[in-house]
């Protein structure tokens, strides 16, 4: 029997893995991969709530998940364009070496 708790545990584990990836990768594209994993875990939570939670209009969770996917796609395109632009300027997208704004 699959319950809400199963979905929550899977999503929480996926979130922590995404956090680990986003924190440890030094390449900007790798950091973006971790962020996408975290967004996916949040979407999994939303869809799980839409399936299991008592609500007057339970489809709202899935609508919200669709909006999150939309915003994530926009965010990914802008972030990758930024990565390419920064690479042209500095020949690197290592986030440890992009310290122009650090005092």
């Amino acid at each position: 029997l699959i319950g809400l708790e199963h979905v929550l545990v899977v999503a929480a584990l996926l979130f922590s893995i995404g956090l680990y990836v986003a924190l440890t990768r030094r390449n900007a594209v790798g950091v973006l991969m971790g962020i996408e994993l975290m967004l996916n875990s949040v979407n999994l939570n939303l869809v799980g709530f839409a399936r299991f939670i008592e609500a007057p209009n339970p489809i709202d969770g899935q609508v919200f998940a669709v909006f999150v996917i939309t915003v994530a796609a926009a965010e990914a395109s802008v972030a990758l364009a930024l990565a390419v632009a920064v690479y042209r300027l500095r020949q690197t997208i290592d986030v440890d070496r992009l310290n122009l704004l650090r005092w």
Binding site: I2, G3, L4, H6, L8, V9, V10, A12, L13, L14, F15, S16, I17, L19, Y20, V21, L23, T24, R25, R26, N27, V29, G30, L32, G34, E36, L37, N40, N43, L44, V47, A50, R51, I53, E54, A55, P58, I59, D60, Q62, V63, A65, V66, F67, I69, T70, A72, A73, A74, S77, V78, L80, A81, V84, A85, Y87, Q91, T92, D96, R97
Partner: protein
């Protein structure tokens, strides 16, 4: 959704998703990381299907496994030196402790909270319901999302256009 096949599918897909997500963090080559990321996205789409969210699953396959991962592959291939030299990782041990702590707290809170679970079976097909919801209560966010997508597209084109500022 309580048939044994669905339960088995849920566990297999959960293991697939979490395992390939873990491999994203462990492999050194960024191209391999993107391939594992695609596998993880497909696993999440399968989990959506077991949760009877077929429309969101299709959107997930189309946008994440199709578009976003191809964008990432392009970004990696357009920044060749960086993906070869700086593909490594730093501070593995302390940061894995931090991530594990966050995950443990979220699991604890999720299991402790008394959720208002309903037992009724729902959603034979969701595409119609989502369409109605997008056009009746959520028209304004829907339109704002389309404006956001146009702005993101124009911004991405301006940022990487040859001859723009930074191309020196």
């Amino acid at each position: 959704v309580d048939q044994p096949a669905v339960i088995v599918a849920f566990y297999v897909l959960a293991i697939l998703t979490l395992g390939s997500a873990l491999m994203v963090g462990l492999v050194r080559d960024l191209i391999h990381a993107v391939l594992f990321l695609i596998l993880s996205f497909v696993g999440v789409a399968g989990l959506y299907i077991t949760l009877s969210a077929d429309f969101v699953a299709v959107v997930q396959i189309l946008i994440y496994a199709g578009a976003v991962s191809v964008l990432m592959l392009f970004a990696i291939l357009l920044t060749p030196r960086s993906s070869r030299d700086n593909a490594g990782v730093s501070y593995r041990a302390p940061l894995s402790v931090v991530a594990g702590l966050v995950g443990a707290i979220v699991v604890f809170v999720g299991l402790q909270t008394d959720w208002l679970v309903s037992e009724d079976e729902r959603y034979d097909e969701t595409a119609r319901e989502i369409g109605l919801a997008l056009l009746d209560p959520y028209v304004l966010p829907f339109e704002v999302a389309s404006v956001l997508l146009v702005i993101a597209m124009i911004g991405a084109i301006v940022l990487v256009r040859p001859g723009s500022e930074g191309e020196s």
